[in-house]
């Protein structure tokens, strides 16, 4: 079990800097997620850790050991590939035993550990099968067993669940988390699925353009997203552009639809800055507009543009006077709160409004 440290790592692939100055510390035993849209450099970072790529700049450390020049087969990492990469000419047993053979483990020991690994992923009944006789979920579990059996210093998972159907994906999430709890190995897990990251991770690094945007626990990232990108990428949010007018106990933002008050703002925003007010859809309280109306703090008005019923929730898209679209979500929607075309009021609790710096184009 080791800690993994990326120190100002740069990797150029083709014309682009796939990883661009990555600095990151992953603690020993942590289930750590690299989360980002495609092209954000997360898989490249993982392959750098595995040694398939050598950094163009910077270094990678396992504990304090510099991994520069250590070839992939000497790194003792266990990688689970996106397409599983099970060898089609070997049966399940031989696939899993391969790493132990390379390590010259004795016959008895090998038998024991392969069986144990297959039991961990509940695949012991399929030892004699060839990979193409297994379903996607089963292949996935064999790939996991193959990585586990060598007791690697770090387990690297490259979008391991992306080829599975939705139901199986949920099952495997729980299983991988379970296995992590049992063996407490350091795991680096790459995904573009924010729900997967939120539900499983100890900590998450959100990546964009080869750099890290924010690192934190799932709760920190969700409740205290520090940028519009993170807020939108994790969970989705409403962004109302405006100018910061007051920076006291409450922050006041002048938007095109009126003055909004917020109790939270990211560090570094100052009076006069161009900012976003970020409000999660589930924090928007929607009700039918009553006449005559009183002035309420942080109330917006608009017309329901469309409604999406999702069973456990109902999503309203509301067009404000200036044309901005605001999303509101009601959970457990036993009755509809409004119909398309209704004039509605949207109330925002200042505690649910986060003031974020408006990124400059090209940032």
């Amino acid at each position: 079990m080791v800690s993994v440290k990326f120190d100002r790592v740069v990797k150029v692939l083709g014309q682009s800097r796939a990883v661009d100055g990555l600095t990151l510390e992953i603690k020993a035993g942590e289930l750590f997620f690299l989360l980002g849209p495609s092209g954000s450099g997360k898989t490249t970072a993982l392959r750098l850790a595995a040694g398939f790529y050598a950094p163009d700049e910077g270094k990678i450390f396992f504990n304090e050991r510099d991994q520069s020049g250590v070839p992939p087969h000497k790194r003792n990492t266990g990688m689970v590939f996106q397409n599983y990469a099970l060898w089609p000419h070997m049966d399940v047993w031989n696939n899993v035993a391969y790493g132990l053979k390379m390590r010259g483990v004795s016959k008895e020991e090998k038998k024991k550990r392969v069986r144990q690994a297959l039991e961990t992923v509940r695949m012991e009944a399929y030892m004699d099968r060839l990979p193409n006789q297994l379903s996607g979920g089963q292949q996935q579990r064999v790939a996991l067993a193959r990585a586990l059996v060598i007791e690697p210093d770090v387990i690297l998972l490259d979008e391991p669940l992306s080829n599975l159907d939705a139901k199986l994906r949920l099952e495997m999430r729980a299983q991988i988390k379970d296995i992590h709890r049992q063996i407490a190995h350091t795991m680096i897990y790459v995904t573009h699925d924010q729900a997967e990251a939120l539900s499983m991770a100890d900590r998450i690094a959100v990546m964009r353009g080869g750099r890290i945007v924010q690192v934190g626990t799932p709760r920190e990232l969700y409740t205290r997203a520090e940028s519009a990108f993170v807020a939108e990428f994790i969970g989705g949010t409403n962004l109302l552009p405006g100018t910061l007018e007051e920076h006291g106990d409450l922050l006041s933002v002048r938007t095109r639809v009126g003055l909004l008050r917020a109790s939270n703002g990211v560090k570094g925003v100052a009076k006069g800055d161009a900012v976003f007010c970020s409000v999660r859809p589930e924090s928007v309280h929607l009700s039918i507009l009553k006449e005559p109306r009183l002035e309420i703090l942080n109330e917006l008005t608009g017309e329901v543009q469309s409604i999406m019923y999702l069973g456990d929730s109902e999503q309203y898209s509301v067009r404000l006077a200036d044309g901005t679209l605001v999303h509101a979500v009601e959970y457990n929607p036993t009755v509809s709160k409004a119909q398309v075309g209704d004039r509605v009021s949207l109330e925002l609790d200042p505690r649910d409004v986060m003031v974020l710096a408006r990124e400059q184009p090209g940032d």
């Binding site: 898989t43 392959r47 595995a50 398939f52 790529y53 070839p71 992939p72 087969h73 000497k74 790194r75 003792n76 990492t77 266990g78 990688m79 590939f81 996106q82 397409n83 599983y84 990469a85 099970l86 060898w87 089609p88 000419h89 391969y98 790493g99 390379m102 390590r103 060839l130 990979p131 193409n132 292949q139 193959r146 990585a147 060598i150 490259d158 979008e159 080829n163």
Partner: protein, 564 residues
């Protein structure tokens, strides 16, 4: 019955084409084959294994059989040993001039080995250049028998001719290995030779066997090279000798059946070894390129290996070139004087001029047949659901596995005393034989073209009001034109230098094609070999130019043509 037919796209035109195709295959593949089988097993007195007994109990024939099998296996083995490192260096490393080297590796493919054999004879004969040179230099005082009785020379020529086929298949197989699978192995601690042995090579096996079986069959039934070298202890040569007295001696039939049987056995074994598993690629994930830039020393090594092998492969043909311009070359290391008169004679001599005309005529006709048949078959296979689809596919590919010798023998035997009798007029059967032999190339080329062309493009045309026939002419054919041209070039050039069909079927001098004329000239004492060499060189140039054009059309997909 009706509901069953509904599963197929059977318009009147489709059904008509199918009937014609089947008629062709039955007449020119199934009937001759069954005729040979019948004659091998049935005598006047009914079913009998007497010829097979004769064959297996006679030490002469068992030796001949063993020789042929050995030839096939040795050539397969040596081509493998040559090609594995070549494929690995070229596929896995990036270095300057890679395209050029790739082309160099393919050159021997255009050097027909039976032409090379002429040069080989000149260089390595008892009093050939090499021995004479060594004697002059005082290295030896008795001439060395380089041919090993002829067998060694046949092996050498075949290896030098066929390794590009092996290389093409191995390179394709290596390029197809999912890089993720190798990465997974390295991640698990494998590297170097261990990685190659446990993961890379096993994954290459299906592609390897696809090429190996072609190389084996090619060498196993090679006729032209041993004939020119005068090595007779091969089954192919025996069969050739027996064509003339088919009626008196049914042994020929038994030998042909033995060739078919052995071919089938090796085919079956190679398929079994793969385990029937063409490892389909699973969903591709992140594909890290497996191609690395080569270090300077590796680049030098690669160049040395490729250039070295190519030079050796060219030596026999260099000998041919020398022979063709040698005014007098007897008991000396190099020709005594040089002249171009033999090239002039090629175009004036009756036999040669006629043979060139013949070859051009036959090859043009057979290529036209190939285009019609090949395009039709490929179109039916890719665009229509037709009954017996798999069988049609298998029949069209069968000539790849079926030795040309077997086909030619079957034609002579099966059509004797019919209007197509090769003894009376060999032209129709020669043209058909050429066409059948090279049909797989045309089918493969057209098939690849149709497959690359999205059906949606055709549907779009029909959607906008084009009739199916219009769509075919205005959309489909223009899109697959390059493939058709490439396939046609291959068919034509291989037909021009087809050996076994020509030697067996062209029974009258006025119908001799180029190859048979060369063979006939080699038998003439005076200037025969010189004129034969000049013709060989002309043939070489022709094949080289056409293959170069074909590979220009095919690009990197060339390898797909030479596999089973």
């Amino acid at each position: 019955m009706i509901s069953q037919l509904k599963r197929y796209d059977l318009s009147l035109a489709t059904a008509g084409f199918l009937v014609l195709l089947w008629a062709f295959f039955i007449a020119f593949m199934l009937y001759p084959l069954s005729f040979v089988l019948a004659n091998a097993f049935f005598t006047d007195k009914g079913f009998s294994l007497v010829f097979f007994k004769l064959m297996l109990w006679s030490p002469d024939y068992t030796l001949i059989l063993a020789n042929s099998i050995n030839l096939g296996l040795l050539v397969t083995l040596f081509t493998t040993l040559l090609s594995v490192p070549l494929a690995f260096l070229v596929v896995r490393y990036e270095f300057p001039g890679k395209g050029l080297l790739n082309g160099l590796i393919l050159i021997p493919l255009v050097l027909p080995p039976f032409v090379g054999a002429i040069g080989m004879r000149q260089l390595l004969a008892r009093f050939g250049s090499v021995n004479l040179l060594l004697i002059y230099m005082g290295v030896i005082d008795q001439p060395i028998d380089w041919f090993g009785g002829g067998f060694g020379a046949v092996v050498l020529l075949e290896v030098l001719h066929l390794y590009p086929i092996m290389y093409l298949n191995l390179a394709a197989a290596l390029a197809n290995v999912d890089p993720n699978l190798e990465e997974a192995a390295r991640n698990m601690g494998a590297s170097g030779l261990k990685l190659f042995r446990t993961v890379t090579f096993p994954l290459m096996l299906p592609g390897y066997f696809a090429g190996a079986i072609i190389v084996f069959i090619w060498a196993f039934t090679e006729l032209g090279t041993p004939l020119i070298l005068g090595y007779r202890k091969l089954i192919a040569v025996q069969i050739f000798n027996m064509v003339t007295d088919l009626h008196q001696n049914p042994m020929g039939y038994a030998l042909v059946v033995a060739v078919i049987a052995l071919t089938l056995v090796f085919f079956y074994v190679s398929k079994r070894l793969i385990g029937g598993a063409g490892y389909g690629m699973m969903g591709r994930g992140h594909v890290g390129s497996a191609i690395r830039p080569a270090s300077a020393s590796l680049t030098v090594l690669t160049y040395a290996v490729v250039l070295g092998i190519s030079c050796v492969a060219l030596i026999p043909h260099f000998g041919v070139l020398l022979t063709s311009i040698a005014g007098r070359w007897f008991l000396s290391v190099l020709p005594g004087e040089y002249t171009f008169k033999f090239y002039r004679e090629v175009f004036t001599h009756d036999l040669t001029l006629l043979s060139i005309k013949n070859s051009l005529f036959f090859s043009t006709l057979s290529t036209m047949i190939d285009i019609v048949l090949g395009v039709t078959i490929a179109y039916l296979l890719t665009r229509k659901r037709v009954p017996g689809r798999n069988l049609l596919d298998a029949l069209a590919m069968l000539p790849l596995a079926l030795p040309g010798l077997v086909m030619a023998f079957g034609y002579v035997a099966a059509f004797s005393a019919t209007p197509l009798d090769a003894r009376i007029n060999p032209v129709p059967l020669l043209v058909v034989a050429y066409a059948v032999r090279r049909l797989p190339y045309m089918v493969r080329s057209a098939y690849a073209g149709f497959q690359q062309t999205s059906v949606a493009l055709e549907e779009a045309a029909m959607n906008l009001g084009a009739s199916p026939l219009k769509t075919l002419y205005q959309i489909t054919f223009p899109l697959v034109f390059a493939n058709l041209v490439a396939g046609a070039i291959l068919c034509f050039s291989f037909a021009m230098l087809e050996v076994s069909d020509s030697l067996i079927l062209a029974l009258k001098q006025q119908n001799y094609p180029i190859t048979k004329a060369i063979y006939a000239l080699m038998g003439r004492v005076a200037d025969g070999p010189y004129i034969a060499s000049a013709m060989g060189i002309l043939g070489l140039v022709l094949l080289a130019v056409s293959l170069f054009m074909a590979s220009h059309f095919f690009g990197r997909r060339m390898g797909e043509l030479f596999r089973a």
